[in-house]
């Protein structure tokens, strides 16, 4: 058929036709008006212009068909195998990069006045996991949970992006030009109107740039403020030495340690290194327990260090001061005034002092950052008397800006009273939230004409600043940092900035009209040290993660002959103390889901802060866990839920700062109560207060609601004396369990296997419950965050949990007579707030409480009860003894979990992976209901963080600890390539790698020479619930305590 265009149009007919029409008539083409039969056919045809198949010859037909099929095939490929976006392959392969092979880069994680050297695992350019850097003295291969969770902050969808001016989007160019305008104006008076507000500055480059700035603007000032920072520490060293020094404790070989409210194992700067060294002195091999060191902890609120102590004394801050003065007096130090405190038994003072003296140079006294300055001064004096070799002093790591230094108070005063401050530049931090509220920082911000905040997250301070610039995360920028002991590391980026951000260093450099990138600025700082071989040295420093030759040498300051301690504080039977929250710190991690959901070590509380009170005070007030209490400090009051903490002093109420942030992302929204309102700049960390019961209650999300062992032999703990008597710590019934009577043939008979048999041991003597393993496991295994509601329902997903139980020891004869508690009886202390039928019957003496931790993950039972009950064989046993979950096969009957005596299995009750709070934008349109919509880029951003070697689990699937099977397989592949067996210690599980105290050992138990097999032969080795004969591959080593027999009776 021919199309009409090919027809000759009879123009005459067209003319004739047009002439016969009347009025306006529209026609589309000559063909139409000609109205040829061809045109009619063309109109009638549904698919005009096609070529009839009949018109195509055979060759063309085959060509077209071939091409069609090819295209169809390619189309199929695209949806299946090709990304929908344009992808460009590596034309030139980057050096050392193999797709799917991780790379590790050394960098450093700066936090709270120190830094931890870390190795960051990166897959195809995406940082996905933080490990400790073995060559960095603050890490030595281990980490804490902050380092582990810091990676989540990088990918946080709520992060600050780009630049904002009064809430509107702006650009860096505008901000920089505005900044320069402000600086230009300030030039007249030498920058008298410029104030920097920063955290403690520990970066040599930042110090260099700031000093350059102050050279240019001599009148400008900087206020360094760190919530929970070391004001008392500095003041104490001022009293003792006449100058501020930074003190580092090297606890290797320490025999006797006295902690004066110092949680040196867990929450102090450099804790990871201190825990490693201290615990090395607690390791017991065989039956020889005499080598164990001894730890006395005198503390105001229970801490992991208190839990690990051989003797623990709960005191008020005044009692702490009294205790320190008492001990110092024994050492012959002039202390002016030794007050009597009812919480300080004199026998304690005498015995502790005697024990310290006996240990001499191997003893050390450590004062905590919140301890009064007098306690710090006395600790320095005692250490000097002991000639302790465990203390090292360095020039203070905090930058000293001399005349340019100021304080927050002065900034506020200058801004509001004299009105001289017109520009405030805040580098990081959130002082508007976490500074004592009586400072009224917002007034200063309101008065200043130019305020800028360089920050990774939008917080209360950014809300007050006219300009907010997004700061890069430490994994995105070049910087450097000095840790407490003077070790300096270069911070190198793992990834280009995800958002339009600049680092504080870059911003400072731009302020100095020095438009070079962070890389060159940092290099400039270090060029003098590198000298001629700078480039080689530089790559060496980056590789090692430590700048060689930059470490400061220790100094030996002398203690002043007389200490001006001031009078001892007395009075007040109720003191509130303010501490940085164990997980969200001063609020900086409030939008970090991993840290929000990480159980706080002593309370197992998540997603909230609570007023921690003693059982006695709770009885007095008539409150139960979660009931609201009103805490009043000099007229200001805060209402928040109470939580009973065993071991808390009756005189002290502990409040954790960091919660209740107003400006925060969707994760930290509505979490906890802001207690900063109660703090004053005069008494920022403790105050006299009244506590009363208030109406209302909050359901607290506790991960462990029952803390008594109910008389069961689940966990073995003993004193050294008991251990010597009964090295196996056997109890009645153990022999029966050890016989392993079973109807079933053993696995060896059933499935003979001469390859590796994986197994694990956990030494409870070394476990202080620090939860680094929990965070490491979460990061390694793509474990989702479930949120507060789900935690309350008991659906947290952590594969490893830290069980915490209480025991009683060192009770008095009188108590025993009264029958209040019997020897080593467990406390019936139910934290089951929903369970009123159980009441606390014991009036607890906080000093007799022993807190014991036990990490529990899948036991990898050889006769696993979960396996036979799965209807679809989704949980099966591997040759090497792993109890495996086949996620794809799992139907989700949950029978395996029911049948697991250790309750280590975790179920995806909802689609947790995609429903994480971070993904969601919450809008409250209807009262009491939250409508969540997906955040733009939310899921995509967090997906970058997933470990590609671990399946991401969806809804309805059971999961649990795999012994990090992906790591085993990686090592196996390497070993096979080299045609050798896997070496002992080559496979390191994520929990083991993170553990600061090396409590976890993993390896091949079939190899009698492996570390794990040797530990399993230790007399302290035991299995959990051996009578069930599940033949666990994870075993424990009993917890030992080394009490001072003279103090035992007290």
């Amino acid at each position: 058929m021919k199309t009409p265009t090919q027809t000759e149009i009879n123009l005459d007919a067209v003319r004739a036709k047009l002439s016969s029409t009347n009025g306006p008539e529209y026609w589309r083409s000559l063909e139409e008006v000609a109205d040829t039969p061809e045109f009619k056919a063309w109109v009638d045809d549904e698919f005009p212009n096609r070529r009839s198949i009949a018109d195509i010859d055979r060759r063309n037909f085959l060509k077209l068909m071939g091409a069609s099929m090819l295209l169809a095939g390619i189309g199929g490929c695209r949806s299946m195998y090709l990304p929908s976006e344009k992808a460009v392959p590596y034309v030139k392969m980057p050096e050392n990069m193999l797709p799917g092979k991780p790379q590790y880069y050394a960098t450093a994680f700066p936090l709270m006045g120190t830094a931890m050297g870390v190795l960051v695992q990166s897959y195809d350019g995406r940082p996905i996991k933080i490990e400790g850097n073995p060559s960095h003295p603050a890490s030595r291969g281990a980490t804490d949970y902050f380092a582990q969770a810091s990676i989540l902050d990088l990918y946080d969808p709520d992060r600050m992006k780009g630049v904002q001016n009064m809430g509107d989007e702006s650009t860096w160019d505008i901000l920089i030009s505005k900044t320069r305008e402000a600086l230009e104006l300030a030039k007249k008076d030498g920058g008298a109107g410029i104030r920097f507000v920063t955290g403690e500055v520990h970066s040599p480059t930042e110090i260099r740039l700031l000093k350059q700035f102050f050279a240019k603007y001599p009148q400008a000032k900087i206020a360094q403020y760190q919530c929970g920072g070391g004001d008392n520490v500095r003041e104490g060293s001022q009293i003792a030495f006449g100058k501020a020094v930074s003190t580092v404790y090297d606890l290797s070989g320490a025999k006797v340690v006295l902690s004066l409210d110092a949680d040196f194992l867990h929450s102090m700067p450099n804790s990871v290194a201190m825990a490693r060294d201290f615990m090395a002195g607690r390791k017991v091999s065989g039956v020889n327990a005499d080598t164990m060191s001894r730890l006395y902890t005198v503390e105001c609120t229970p801490s992991p260090t208190g839990a690990m102590a051989d003797h623990r004394l709960a005191v008020s801050p005044n009692g702490l001061d009294a205790f320190a003065r008492g001990v110092a007096q024994v050492f012959g130090i002039e202390v002016m005034d030794v007050p009597q405190s009812k919480s300080v038994p004199s026998a304690w003072v005498q015995e502790v002092a005697a024990d310290l003296q006996a240990a001499g140079a191997d003893a050390v006294v450590i004062a905590g950052p919140y301890a009064p300055a007098s306690v710090h001064a006395l600790a320095h004096a005692i250490n000097a008397k002991l000639a302790s070799t465990k203390v090292k002093h360095f020039e203070s790591g905090v930058a000293d800006f001399g005349p340019n230094a100021t304080t927050l108070q002065a900034v506020v005063a200058d801004a509001t009273k004299s009105g001289t401050v017109n520009s405030i530049i805040v580098l990081g931090g959130d002082p508007a939230f976490n500074a004592p509220s009586d400072l009224e920082l917002e007034k200063a911000f309101n008065r200043a004409t130019f305020t800028v905040h360089i920050t990774t997250q939008s917080n209360d301070t950014s809300a007050f600043c006219k300009w907010v610039g997004s700061s890069t995360h430490y994994l995105e920028h070049w910087a450097d940092v000095t840790s407490l002991d003077g070790t300096t590391s270069i911070i190198q980026p793992l990834i280009a900035p995800l958002h339009d951000s600049k680092s504080p260093i870059e911003f400072l450099s731009l302020m100095l009209n020095n438009p070079i990138g962070g890389y060159d600025v940092v290099r400039e700082t270090w060029k003098p040290l590198g000298g001629a071989g700078f480039d080689d040295a530089w790559s060496n420093w980056l590789n090692e993660g430590v700048v060689k030759g930059a470490s400061a040498a220790p100094i030996a300051p002398t203690v002043n002959a007389s200490l001006t301690l001031g009078p001892a504080q007395t009075g007040g039977d109720c003191t509130v103390i303010f501490r940085n929250d164990p997980t969200v710190l001063d609020g900086r991690f409030a939008n970090n889901g991993w840290l929000q959901e990480l159980p706080k070590v002593m309370t197992t509380l998540t997603w909230d802060n609570a007023a921690l009170i003693s059982a006695n005070r709770a009885t007095e007030l008539g409150v139960k866990d979660g009931d609201h209490v009103k805490i009043t400090v000099s007229g200001k009051s805060v209402t928040m839920p109470a939580l009973i903490l065993v071991g808390q002093s009756d005189e002290v109420v502990t409040l954790h700062m960091g919660y209740g942030r107003k400006a925060v992302g969707s994760v930290g929204k509505d979490a906890g109560t802001n207690v900063n309102a109660l703090r004053t700049s005069e008494h920022p960390y403790s105050a006299k207060a009244t506590v009363e019961k208030d109406s209302g209650r909050t359901q607290l999300a506790l991960t462990q609601t029952h803390h008594s062992m109910e008389g069961r032999d689940i966990l073995k703990a003993a004193t050294v004396a008991e251990f010597k008597k009964n090295p196996g710590l056997k109890v009645e019934g153990d022999e029966l369990a050890e016989k392993g009577l079973s109807m079933w043939p053993s696995n060896d008979q059933e499935f003979p296997w001469d390859g590796a048999k994986w197994g694990m041991t956990i030494d409870l003597s070394l476990c202080m419950g620090c939860h680094a393993c929990v965070a490491a496991c979460q990061s390694e295994n793509n474990i989702p965050v479930v949120g507060k509601e789900q935690v309350i329902k008991g659906r947290e997903m952590h594969w490893i949990r830290i069980d915490r139980y209480y025991r009683v020891h060192g009770h008095t004869e009188e108590e025993e007579k009264k029958g209040v508690m019997s020897k080593n009886s467990e406390i019936t202390n139910s934290r089951d707030i929903t369970d009123p039928s159980e009441s606390r019957t014991d009036i607890l003496n906080p000093n007799t409480i022993e807190t014991v931790f036990s990490p529990v993950a899948c036991m990898h039972c050889e006769k696993a009860p979960c396996e036979p009950v799965c209807p679809v064989a989704a949980t099966v046993h591997s040759h090497e003894g792993l109890n495996q979950m086949v996620y794809n096969r799992c139907v989700g009957t949950r029978y395996c979990s029911n049948n697991c005596p250790y309750k280590v299995r975790r179920f995806n009750f909802l689609n947790y992976t995609d429903n994480e709070l971070q993904f969601m934008e919450q809008t409250r349109s209807i009262p009491h209901s939250v409508i969540s919509t997906e955040k733009p880029g939310g899921i995509g951003l967090l997906k970058l963080m997933n470990n590609p070697n671990v399946t991401v689990r969806g809804r309805g699937v059971m999961e649990k600890c795999t012994y990090c099977v992906q790591r085993i397989n990686q090592v196996r592949i390497e070993a096979k390539k080299e045609n050798r067996p896997i070496r002992d210690g080559e496979v390191v599980t994520a929990c083991q790698q993170a553990c600061p105290t090396q409590a976890i050992t993993f390896g091949n138990i079939a190899d009698a020479n492996s570390a794990v097999a040797k530990l399993k032969k230790e007399p302290r080795s035991y299995l959990m619930l051996p009578e069930l004969n599940t033949q666990n591959r994870t075993s424990y080593l009993a917890r030992l305590r080394n009490p001072n027999t003279k103090l035992e009776a007290v």
Partner: protein, 471 residues
Amino acid sequence: MSALPTENELLLTGGHDYKSIDELLGNIVLDQSQHKKSWLTVFGIGFLVVHALLLAVGWLLYQGIGIWGNNQPVGWGFDIINFVWWIGIGHAGTLISAVLLLLRQQWRNSINRFAEAMTLFAVMCAGMYPLLHTGRPWVAYWLFPYPNYLAMWPQFRSPLIWDVFAVTTYITISALFWFIGLIPDFATMRDRSQPMWLKKTWGLLAMGWRGSVKHWHRYEAGYLILAGLSTPLVLSVHSIVSLDFAVSIVPGWNVTIFPPYFVAGAVFAGFAMVITFAVPIRSWYKLHDVITMKHFDWMAKIMLATGLIVFYGYILEVFYAYYSGNWAEIYLVKNRMTGPYAWAFWSLWLCNGAIPQFLWIPKVRQNLTVLWIISQFVSVGMWLERFVIIPMSLHRDYVPSSWGMYYPTMWDWMMFIGTMGFFTFMMMLFVRFMPLINIFEVKDLLLRINHEKHHAEHHEPALVGAKKESH
């Protein structure tokens, strides 16, 4: 004529003949005007609640079982409680139809049909739970052994697989049994109904039944074979359901007495449910002549007997916990009696232990109101029994750090009540559109009564044994 009525005469009163029986029973279906407001009310409620079920299931499929109260450590809550409860309720039907048939108990005739229907509907309700309680119901078919390219079989050691076989067999046999029993009555309906379409429908269902001797012969043989097949099922289904628990190592589940104790409990609950429905239906459709007080008397006695077995089980559980010396078992009993859910335990003892003892009193067995109320207690008690066994054992097992509490959510309740609505809905449809009482077996009863009368009149001195034997 003897002065005292014979046993069979007590089961059919009112002086019926064959025609009046046809009318009395057949007209429930054929004369739709018999269905009054009471039917409509109950049906309406059932119908509405079915929608709640649909909503609950829809939301469940959309969100996942996190909408329920299940958690760590309580992996099974309402889902499995209700599964076991419904399965148990089904048991009376099978027992009545199969076991009593084999034992030649004539009194089963007027209640077997709707007891069987109850079985079917109860198993449907029960069956929903194991399917929907899985985390990924769209792959729940993996529990069936079907050929697949992965050559993957289910894991035959798991009691859940045994469950799959037990329950599917159970529902298949029950449905067949029910349908075959209906065939002669379908033929009656076909013969008695007027409109052609209705005749054809009944005719299809009657499968060409003409009532010839050959048909009857085959029918009897087939029915007996199915009864023979069903009889072991009465024991096996609930035994296997009990093995879901008995095979585990959870204290409180790992109990060897579970199989017989579950079976007795099932029959106990099943009869309670039969009474629950029989009492109102009898009154609505004036069935006093065919469902007589004698029937209720016997059902009450069976309830009493099975109730005693169940109560004995409870006592033994307590005894064995102490006798074992096992700390986990001892704690379990302590926790049941004094723990946070002690109310459930003591309510269970009240409902299933104490209250059924009233059935010893003949007057109570004759008073339908009291009997009905006792049946409700038994139903609640049997539900509590599963609550005590399932979440209460799980919420505190071996490791105290993992102990928790279980609270059902609104969706748990909605689905549970929804299944009750579904059950009621189906029962009401059944009552209206199917012959709910076995017409031909009641006629057979009449034949026997007449036969006995005949014997009594003409062969008074005949052998004693002949009295019961019919030819």
